[in-house]
Symmetry: C2
Subunit: 526 residues, 2 copies
């Protein structure tokens, strides 16, 4: 049955604009020409609603205009968003973003997963009339599961993967949430270890009540069978799994499916490059931040900074990558060594003692250099210049399936992971003020501003822009302008032929994309 | 040359009491009889100075007497120590401990590493006359490097590995520190990437001065050659390595060497079982805590708890172990699955949907059960009952080289790691009061007391035992009695045929060993 669900999803997801047609194409500018069509045309985030002319204007590498939401548009929760293109490192802005409210509907008993009633997620676009926050009641009923979704994708070596992920990842998440929504929507239900037929078929005539009864009977009985009708089994230890961990698992597996889909569809579409992914899912009173790459999420609450993600880079993932290469040395193609040295080893240094570290070490020691150590190190360079296999500077995300070491047959992909780390924030358990926000930014923001500096920019800006009514129609500008302020603070101004920020530091020459998400909306979830 | 150093060290270390002879033997009670001698006879920690009679008394599983330092003995820094045997799970106390002040001496120019003047570490035993704190000036000169060392080893399946590690690990650490002591002892010297001949040979006629000059010329010059005499090389990026990370690397590699030595000497000696290792090295004003296993170190400072280690258990290391098994499935011998399930899968559940997670997931999801999933999970059980390959409950430490899954040829050792995680505390940068301590304990302590409870026991005890003079001859009792109080709090008292602690909770039936190390001695390092 799972296979059928998957193919149904593929039909729904894959059927959208296969030929593309817009300018740019999914291929971006750094990938070679391709005979196959892009899966989606290149564009800026859908919610910006930019015309082709506006997209072109946004790509001015000299002026680097900051793009924000139009007055007529609004994102859920009055989310602020702003972006700016790079200073010339690629023709197109390789960042992408997506923001949606999704409604996961229950499947009716006996209905095929592919039927229209069984659609896994009915997407609610942000509405051009500014009414994006209200739910369309005719489409939503009490059995449905609504979740909010924000995402940033930072592409490299082409825009294809970032564009595809920005269009499709939320559907994968919706599908995985749908699989467990019966459990998630039953208060205090501990997820059954093994699903009974009844839960598998989503036969929910009075599921809520029955599930609750089962929950009560399950609690405290470690070896209890999953269904009251199952035959009694001998006692055995059983691990308790929380509802929260099902959402985490849903996001993790959605990331894997997204990457598999990109890999498969490369045969049909031109899906160039790769991308990082940072997503926020808010469901049932909790915020889940999933990160695969070097974007970052922080919560700013009462002036305090709460990190909500960790970056994955060649340096932060050194030990994982070295361990993999140590165990599967063929992946290094006899040209690289899994050992790390502070710099390239020179031939004349064979026999001398040099600093090194292997996958088991966080410290350094000296070893006698041998011929094998003359190979290029798997991880090389520092900070933003660190590279895996001398090729790539990020270690998690989607795509890059055909990426090879220059002039060789050594694949990069085995070293990359599409798996996110998911952190959870119990939104409904806290009271939030109108200045408490979740900030998401691609590395263009964080390369030049610290967490503390971002918090200060936001706090300072919001303090001078106090809304009378947080639900007024103009309220969303507050966060849009805060996002704009952040992008401005990271890009800087053009002076002496360079972008400069405060204290005459260099501004970021990278693409920069920023969300400022007010958390006060979480209060309604209490 | 390295080979020569190593064999010299083996001669020094391996030459001590090969035949053993004392009661108990290194083999402990759970290992089978062996025709080869124990490397060291079984005993309690050397610094306790127990007679054979006292060792026997300490092993009373009914009374479980708490053993502490004798009045006539004293550990460095007035360290407190206390231990108690288990309630019957093994005949012998399988914990071991070691505490030493070691002096690493420079090798003279041209001297062979094996010469007496070149001895890597001249050990200073705690002296029976209570003068253990004073340095024997005739043995120590300004060029030497002194470090303090505390260690706990928690053995399993025999005492051999724990006894051997308690006798030898500090020598391995001393040897690795000796290799880099010229660099460590030169203030502000950034470790050279490649050692010049001069540093390799330890030719130190005026090394300090010359090294300092080199340090100055190196700083800020990323591509500078390591020696002033080296030919100029083209510019290349060079990673900066700190002195601190050399100490971390020395501890890491010492752990590896210790495990290799145990593996090699199994052919000659009976070294039974395995053990965890928790060590503290205090050198040059910093405390380094290296942990491989489930013991724990915390600093209690001004009533605040600062964790100084993380435990390594089947649960905390699940993803590393699953990743290894996924990449090297032959290690599972076709009897185990790398997937985790909340409980054993039953044959009749094939085809149903069950909760699982693989090495990429921290959350859970449902999968359709297949025949392969009926294999026993690599990680199984919860908390203290969690096991790797249904066999072992700890995942790091020394020994266990011949451990197999019961009734099979599947080796456990590939899944175990001897690598410690090292955390650093800048001791000399803080002012400490007489109640600020570093507490080390084997899992017997932490299984029943939380960090907070330990901090409260210590704070409460020390507050009622205020020394007039922290350097008085009786001062060391203060910390000995605090350690005793902790062991008592974790063991409890015998009531209703069980060991009970406060709130009528169960006391620990495990071996319990505890150090209470006052940090006020660090003030002298400022």
């Amino acid at each position: 049955m799972l296979t059928r669900v998957k193919s149904a999803v593929a039909t729904i997801m894959g059927g959208v604009m296969p030929g593309g047609g817009g300018g740019g194409g999914g291929g971006g500018d750094t990938s070679g020409a391709s005979d196959v069509p892009s899966k989606f045309p290149y564009s800026r985030p859908e919610f910006l609603g930019l015309s082709p002319d506006e997209v072109e204007c946004s790509a001015d590498h000299s002026a680097r205009p900051i793009v924000t939401m139009k007055e007529s548009k609004r994102l859920p929760w009055s989310t602020g968003y702003a972006e700016v293109i790079n200073a010339g490192k690629s023709t197109l802005n390789e960042d992408q973003a997506c923001c949606e409210v999704l409604v996961v509907k229950r499947r009716l008993p006996g209905s095929s997963p592919a039927s229209s009633r069984g659609l896994m997620a009915r997407r609610r676009s942000s509405l051009p009339n500014g009414e994006g926050l209200g739910l369309q009641e005719d489409l939503v009923n009490a059995d449905d599961l609504t979740f909010h979704y924000w995402a940033l994708f930072d592409g490299h070596a082409g825009c294809g993967a970032a564009v595809v992920a920005s269009r499709l990842l939320h559907h994968h998440i919706a599908r995985h949430l749908q699989e467990v929504m019966n459990i998630l929507c039953t208060p205090d239900l501990q997820p059954p270890t093994c699903l009974s037929e009844e839960l598998t078929q989503n036969n929910l005539a009075s599921a809520s009540q029955r599930a609750l009864t089962r929950a009560v009977s399950l609690r405290g009985a470690a070896g209890a069978p999953a269904s009251p009708n199952a035959p009694p089994v001998r006692f055995f230890a059983e691990k308790k799994v929380s509802q929260e961990s099902l959402v985490v698992g849903a996001i993790e597996n959605a990331f894997k499916d997204m990457d598999v889909q990109i890999e498969k569809e490369r045969a049909i579409y031109n899906i160039s490059g790769g991308c990082t992914a940072l997503v926020v899912v808010c469901v049932l009173g909790k915020i889940y931040v999933g990160n695969a790459g070097d974007s970052r999420a922080v919560i700013i609450r009462g002036g305090e900074v709460i990190p909500m993600s960790r970056e994955f880079t060649p340096e932060s993932e050194r030990q994982r990558l070295q361990f993999l290469a140590y165990m599967q040395p063929h992946l290094l193609g006899n040209e690289f060594t899994h050992l790390e040295f502070p710099r390239r080893v020179q031939k004349k240094e064979v026999g001398k003692r040099m600093l090194y570290r292997d996958f088991t070490m966080s410290g350094w020691a000296y070893k006698t250099i041998q011929d094998d150590d003359l190979k290029f190190p798997l991880i090389y360079g520092e900070g933003k210049k660190a590279r895996v296999l001398a090729t790539i500077g990020v270690t998690r995300g989607f795509g890059d399936h055909s990426l090879k070491v220059h002039d060789s047959n050594i694949s990069i992909k085995p070293f990359l992971s599409c798996c996110p780390e998911v952190q959870v924030y119990p939104l409904a358990q806290h009271q939030h003020g109108t200045d408490d926000v979740l900030v998401l930014g691609t590395d263009g923001l964080w390369d030049v501003l610290s967490n503390q500096e971002v918090a200060e920019v936001v706090a300072c800006f919001l303090a001078n822009c106090d809304p009378d009514d947080p639900h007024s129609t103009l309220c969303h500008f507050r966060y849009t302008m805060a996002a704009q302020e952040l992008v401005m603070s990271a890009r800087g101004v053009l002076r002496d032929r360079g972008w400069r920020i405060s204290s005459d530091r260099l501004g970021s020459g990278d693409d920069i994309s920023v969300y400022v998400i007010p958390l006060v909306h979480g209060n309604a979830l209490n």
